[in-house]
Structure formats: structure tokens, C-alpha cells
Homo-oligomer: 337 residues x 2
Amino acid sequence: MTEVILHEPLDMHLHLRDGDMLRTVAPLSARSFSGALIMPNLVPPITDGEMLRAYRHRILEAAGENCFKPYMTLFFKPEYDFDFLAPLAEEITAIKLYPAGITTNSEGGVSGFDVETLRPALEAMSELGIPLCIHGETGGFVLDREREFVPIYEELAVAFPELSIVMEHITDAVSLEALERHPNLYATITLHHLLITLDDVVGGMLQPHLFCKPIAKRPEDRQALLHAALNAHPKVMFGSDSAPHPRHAKEAPGCAAGVFTAPVALPVLAELFARHGKLEKLQHFVSTNAREIYQIDPPVKKVRLVDTPMQVPEKYGEVVPLFAGREIGWSIADVEC
Amino acid sequence: MTEVILHEPLDMHLHLRDGDMLRTVAPLSARSFSGALIMPNLVPPITDGEMLRAYRHRILEAAGENCFKPYMTLFFKPEYDFDFLAPLAEEITAIKLYPAGITTNSEGGVSGFDVETLRPALEAMSELGIPLCIHGETGGFVLDREREFVPIYEELAVAFPELSIVMEHITDAVSLEALERHPNLYATITLHHLLITLDDVVGGMLQPHLFCKPIAKRPEDRQALLHAALNAHPKVMFGSDSAPHPRHAKEAPGCAAGVFTAPVALPVLAELFARHGKLEKLQHFVSTNAREIYQIDPPVKKVRLVDTPMQVPEKYGEVVPLFAGREIGWSIADVEC
């Protein structure tokens, strides 16, 4: 039997939604992760301290007794300034910026990336040490959206050298290259973008449960992402972007974007890293790098993963997970906290 | 009011299926087209004269009294030789070659494109003047499949210079370039590939009713196809690839590939050509070119299209058409035959 013990695993990009959905999915992340960066794109989005505290409270209630820390984020608004952010700095781990209309519940996001318009907010964040997380896609052709956004990442990285900028859920090899050029650029990579390409979504039959934003790209892009993850590139963190939608919203025309990976993320990552002989790097990818980049100290938790197969449920509540109904090669043996 | 009168419109790539589906869709094509090249990928595929004649009979029965001629095709097998094909030559308009497993009901297709293996069949076809239609995709990455197939088209065009080869439902600008290099290469273009790109399939929400093979490509590819169609490139013909699937097969995970365009094809083409000030080229794209390339003389039919809007039904039987439930700008005013 092969095993790996992960300490304080972290999911640095997680959608927990709200209400019944929150109650369904929060325990699944809380069970195996020590903490997660919680995306703020609710309806309406989380844009002040009161909403943030109330959401944090609902998350903790839904998560149960699991030694799980939700790292909270605000939904970026150009109006945020030092006076607004300073009193909140201790309660927020990052601020998430969405270009307007680019993904689920992003309608209130930013239109245009004029540095001067963004300056008050981004300087305040620099000063307060609050990282900026960005869903970096333009409104261009679907396969070009991320690479077209890279110059915007770079312009912001240069204009705000003290600001940590996280390129969220990168899918394109050119995004990795940008990491090398700017000390203050970081990135998250999802599980599904390590596994699939556009072929898996539209190459055979159409697979709505693998439809996500950014869309999975070419085999050479996946290969580059996999190389960065397996070798625990120090500027790269695991962020699942696990995004639950009820089954009816995924399996109808106008299918919503998102892959629900939270409940299988750690076993599947262990299987993937083991297959590539890189198990010893997994700790860095799912925890160490994030702790250093975000300067966070998550609740103690020890997750033991073993190469004993598990059967993935068809659904969790109304949500169909990655590998639904299939057997995966690894499973969680026990969790201590 | 603007109008255009089309004489003997032809759909040079049509899926009519069989049984109830045939009875649902055949009248829709027969109403507005003078003839159509009928794809042979039934289950089992059409591979001999008896099957072909029986299918032709079922099509005519389903089509009703509509002055409609089904131009029949066989499903290509390398075993076909002169002795087999010669007695059928008058009854078949073309032979359709599918790479094995590349699309709906193509499991019995060709694996590998070794010229010597294909020589007996393709020389017999050359001698008998039977064109070869090919679904030209490799098993590669979904966006590269057609461009990877172009060298195979070219190798066949050179090896069999007397054989007319039709590159079916082309979607990639490089396929158009190949047309210029070989006198015996021709192409069909669908309606949907003149209208959509990959953005329309996966760029917003996922749209299963626009999922087809080959998958729609980049904006510059669509632009090149549109340029060829609107200018009535003499080697390019309209072939709808209209491919009906029951709604439940399109709107579930594992969605089947195909767009059902037959009932709206002529009005939408008229609207498209009119918008680009190219109405006078439509006759070539939907009839004249095909008549010359295939040397066919279809039943007399006069279709008058006008810029009076029509409401597209939500469904025809169980099949959801392109623009279901929406208004389109043109309609068929009358048909004479």
C-alpha cells in the first residue's frame, strides 16, 4: 500500500455558494481541507464587512466541527479605498476581481482595466498587504481569452509592484510564462485543468459536467500546467475552483460553467502525483506554497491518503461531482485535527 | 420587399436517418430542395445496391409528392472494386468515406489511409466517374483534426487525379487553401459553419444544439468560409449536414453531434447573403456549383424567398431545429415544381 500524509491541505479557490447548496458542499471541503479561499460571487456579491462576516458565519455553521478555516474574500470594486479596507484587513485574505460578465455571477465586475481608475483601490491593497485575485479572461474568442489577459496581469504587476496578484485557475501555458517575469505574480491551478483538455469537453460527445471557465485548452497547455504542479513550482498553488451547480443547470441547454471537484480533489491529486512519481511534491502544491504566498497559518489537520480505491457517488445532493459513479484509485484513509 | 428566386436548390450533404425520424425530416428537405446527397451512415450503413434501393424507396415514400430527388451514396469500404461498383454506377451519385469512429455511426469506417490499400476502390471510382466524399478528420486534438487531415486529402488528390474528391463540411481556413492546389478537390460548407464559431458552442453557456462535428472553429475560419460561400467559389457547394437527433439525445450528458438546419436552411441562407449584398451569388452556392461538380440534372423546382419574417417552431417532432422558437428575417413565399 502506498500512502501520503498531507498537513494542512488548502484549497485556494473555492465556491461554496449559499443556502441549501452551501450546506451540501461546505462539509465536503471542510472534511479534507484545513482551509479554503472562499469566492465572493454570491448574488449579491460580498462587498462589505457585514456581508462578509455573515457569510463567514454561515459557512462555519454549514461546515460543522471540522477544523476548517474559510479564508474570506471581497468582490472587488474600484470604489474600495484605504479608509474602507483598513478596518477589514484582518478579516479578509484577498479581494477577488472579476471582469464584468465573464463567468457565473460576475455581472457587477470590472469593465476595463485602466490603471488610474484602479489605482486608489490597488494602492490601498498594496499598503494593507491584501492580495488581489483575478479571473483573468477578456471578452475575446474563447480560446484566446486568457492569453489576451496576460498583458493586463503584467501591466498591473508592474504598476503595483507591492501588490501580490494571483492569476486564478490558469489554463494556458503563456500564463505560466508570465509568472517568471514578475515577482509579484502567482497562480492557482485547478484539479480538472490538470486532467482534461478541450477534447474531453467537445472532442467526443459533449460533456457538460466538464464545461468550465476558463475552458480547458490544448494538450500542450495541460502538459505545462501539470509540469508546474508536479514540480511544485513555488508560485503555484492548488485552487480547485470547485463550482457546484444543481444537475438540472448542468444538463440542459445553456449549461452553467463549473466542475464540482471538492469531494474528490485530494484523492485524485494523490493518484495523479503518485502516477508521475511526484507524491513528495504534493504537500507543496496543496499547502506549503499557499502558506508562504498568503502568509497564512491554517488550522492543524493531518490527512492520510492511501491507494485504496473508492467509489465516487453519482451525486452529492443535487450536484454531480467529477468522476461521478466511477472508481478512483486513491481515497482518504483518515483525517486528524 | 426583397426576394430571391432559387432554381433547383440542392443540399449536397444531408442526413435523413430512417424510420420515424426519416418520416419527420424528409418532407422538410423535400419541400424546399430539388435534391439532396443522402448520407449512408445508417445502422447498419448502406453498403450494397439492395440496401441503397430500399433506402431510396423509403426516402421517396417519406418525402411525399415534392419533386425531390435523393442522390444516393454508399458507405465506403476498401473492398469495393470495379466489378462491384460498375453495375451500381447509375444509382449512386457518390461514395462517402468515414474515418472509423470519427462521427455518428462511423464505426465501420476506414482505419488508416494507405493509398495502396485504397487503390482498387478509388481507381474503380475514378474509372466509373463516381466522386468520393470524405469526412476529413483525424483522431487528433479536436481543433486540429481537420487541418491534420488536409495532407491526406492532398495525397489522395494527387494519387487519383481523375477522382473527384469532396471535402465535406469544411470548417478550417486551411481546407479552403487546399482547394486551390488540386483541380480534383471540391468542398461542401454547412449553414451553421457560416454562422457560428466555437464561441457560440462553449464561449458563453454551453449550447448542445450547436455542438457538431467538425466542431465550429475560430472567427477567422468562419470568415474564410463565409468569403468562399458569399462569392460562390466554383469548387464550393452548400451541404447542410443537417443531422437530426431527438431532443433527449442532444440535451443530456454525452450529447450527440449535429445541428438540425434543414427546415430553415434556405431562408437563413437568403438572409445571410442579403445582409452581405450577395443575394445574386446564392443560386451558385446552393445549386449551380453542385450541378457542375456532380454533373447532375435535378428536378425542376422554383423556390421564392422573401424578407418576410417567420417564426421557427420549437421542435419538428422530437427534433430541435437551429433558431428554435426564434424569428428569422426571411421565409419561403412559394415553391413551384
